[in-house]
């Protein structure tokens, strides 16, 4: 009796060992997105995208024979929660890299942590301050707000506009955009005749727009996140303001244009090519990738693909390529990404270097215009 119990025990232990050895240890990657809260329109497509990629990679046998495990934490878009989530991922889950956070403010809050624990962080937020000055362990995939501003100013020059009114939300994204708009104005010969701000949850911007209407502005540039962007469009048409309206690259989801209805016609925004993939020429190096991502996402989630999910796609694919090449050593992943050249992503073709941790320039943007509830390339 005693010996048989011993036998069973031995068998259990042995079996346990075998099964551990059989299922390879997964590669653990952390993801911190604002899945709920005011920036959930960013976090939701980002989470969906990384989960979709995790599934796809594991269905095809994983990376180097090891499965990929992506641990998603919800930041609710708040700095304090993001800090906690990132610390948890690093110390408890021992992830080898982190993608996210979704917002510029939350990213800036966790930059010191990534630096201290020496974990590669690939942010999905746009503000240029994230990678300028260069932080050793921090990268980002969205095009920089400075490049978006350059595209808008170039378009203004083309349209013979030199007096602009700017509006911005009082969020990290809005503030960073406002700084760039003011900084680059002189370089492009723009005079800012009005500089208005509003809270991200404000329900009415007619007061700000009335002020702008009284100035000599020839165009309005608005820098904020939804739903404020839609409100600006609607209020502008209510006040009968006819001058062109530019939105930031934060406008990158066709749903926002549709919510504003007919009032959105003619609104322009610089955006990644994902939104206008159908109008791209066939020889564009990004076209095949964009079309596949858009189709996969839209069939799986029954929702429009947005550039924000695309930022998460680029971030996670960078990590996946690094894992394939160098395994899950944090320092090696960092070095691999820093030296990555010609990486085709949804946001553009990335060329990273020791002095450039975004790897994109203004050519990654296309100037899009809303027409009948869809985005077309602005002529």
């Amino acid at each position: 009796m005693k010996s048989s119990a011993l036998f069973v025990l031995a068998a259990v232990i042995l079996f346990g060992f075998v099964s551990v050895a059989g299922a390879a240890e997964p590669y653990k990657v952390g993801a911190v997105f604002a899945v709920t809260g005011p920036a959930s329109w960013l976090g939701e497509p980002e989470k969906n995208t990384v989960k979709m990629i995790e599934e796809e990679i594991n269905a095809n046998g994983g990376i180097n024979g090891r499965p990929l495990e992506i641990i998603v934490e919800d930041t609710v878009g708040e700095e304090a929660k993001t800090v906690l989530a990132v610390k948890k991922l690093i110390t408890r889950e021992k992830v080898c890299a982190i993608v996210g956070p979704s917002r510029s403010g939350t990213t800036m809050a966790v930059v010191p942590i990534a630096e201290r624990y020496k974990v590669p962080l690939i942010s999905c937020a746009a503000a240029e301050a994230i990678i300028k000055p260069v932080k050793k362990w921090v990268f980002k995939t969205p095009q920089s707000d400075a490049d978006a501003v350059r595209r808008i100013y170039e378009k203004c020059q083309e349209m013979k506009i030199d007096k602009i009114a700017i509006m911005s939300g009082t969020t990290g994204f809005g503030k960073a955009g406002r700084d760039q708009l003011k900084k680059l104005a002189a370089e492009y010969g723009m005079t800012i005749v009005a500089d208005e701000t509003y809270g991200p949850k404000d329900t009415d911007m007619t007061a700000q727009l009335t002020k702008i209407k009284a100035t000599k502005a020839q165009a309005i540039v608005n820098w904020s996140i939804v739903p404020a962007q839609t409100t600006v469009i609607k209020n502008r048409s209510q006040l009968g303001i006819k001058i062109p309206l530019f939105q930031s690259h934060g406008f990158g989801n066709v749903k926002y244009a549709r919510t504003a209805g007919a009032a959105a016609d003619g609104v322009m925004c610089p955006a990644g090519r994902l939104l206008a993939v159908d109008t791209l020429p066939d020889d564009n190096p990004q076209k095949a990738l964009l079309a596949k991502y858009k189709k996969d996402y839209e069939t799986k989630f029954k929702a429009d693909a947005s550039t924000f999910g695309g930022h998460a796609f680029d971030a996670i694919m960078l990590v996946v390529e690094a894992l394939k090449a160098v395994g899950d050593d944090k320092a090696k992943i960092r070095d691999y990404i820093e030296n990555k050249k010609g990486f085709v992503g949804t946001g553009g073709i990335f060329n990273f270097s020791a002095t450039d941790h975004v790897g994109l320039d203004k050519t990654a943007f296309e100037m899009l215009m809303v027409k009948d509830g869809n985005f077309v390339v602005a002529k």
Binding site: T36, S40, T197, G199, D204, A214, G240, G261
Partner: protein, 297 residues
Amino acid sequence: MTLSSQIVQFLFTGITIGSIYAMVGLGFNIIYNSTGIINFAQGEFVMLGGMVMVWLTTMVNLPMPLAFILTVAIVTVIGALFERLAIYPLKKPSVLILIIITLAGSIIFKGSAMLIWGKETHTLPHISGEEPIEFMGATILPQTLWIIAVLAVIVTLLAVFFNFTMVGKAMRACSVNPTAASLVGINVRRIVLLSFALSAGIGAVAGIVFTPMVLMEYDRGAMLALKGFCAAVLGGLGNGVGAVVAGLLIGILESFGAGFISSGYKDGIALLILLIVLIIKPSGLFGVSEASKLKEF
């Protein structure tokens, strides 16, 4: 744009946003009067009104008037159920416990709305089109006129209800002294139920008329509740007329503040006025200081 037409425009804007603060403030007051608590789920009733209306008109495809009645009915029932399931079963309701319960309720409503209708922003068609009406160089949307009209109707109906009906008078009696009210045969628990239903209904109406103007999403409630709360406090907690006047005042101050001082300090200006008034007259613009001393909260 000339200065005078700018002023008119700021006034229009202020009245539009002020009306919603007023309606939310009214909802706060009704519940405060019967229970002595601040219902933190008040903003969520407005959000639910907008969302249910969007759902009934765009997804179920009901005609507007029918959807309007159904929405108000549904949200009223939600308000009543909330009272029956969360407030009523309490053996010893203290103000603090009740307030925390309403806070929990607001989180539940918000979370459920997110799961049911998703996180995106929803909109509704305007009742009579989106063609702006010109007035002295300023523009106003027909929807704003609807909003003002709805606010006026609500205020009138509430005035009639509280002054000329038995139930309304019973509610006022409860607000003055619940113990004395129950001694003269008023069922205080039923009045509490009624107050939750009533303020949910008003919230729903506010949500329906405002969604076309300001759009609606699942987490709009908190901000609306904050501004509505300011209106209720500024006007004197429990004072219906006070909430309406204070709501409009906050809206107009915000809009003029944004227009003439700085849009960045817009909320700051409104809150500063609130602070000044509360320091000088803690019972609010229309509150009676003797009455507010008798209240627990």
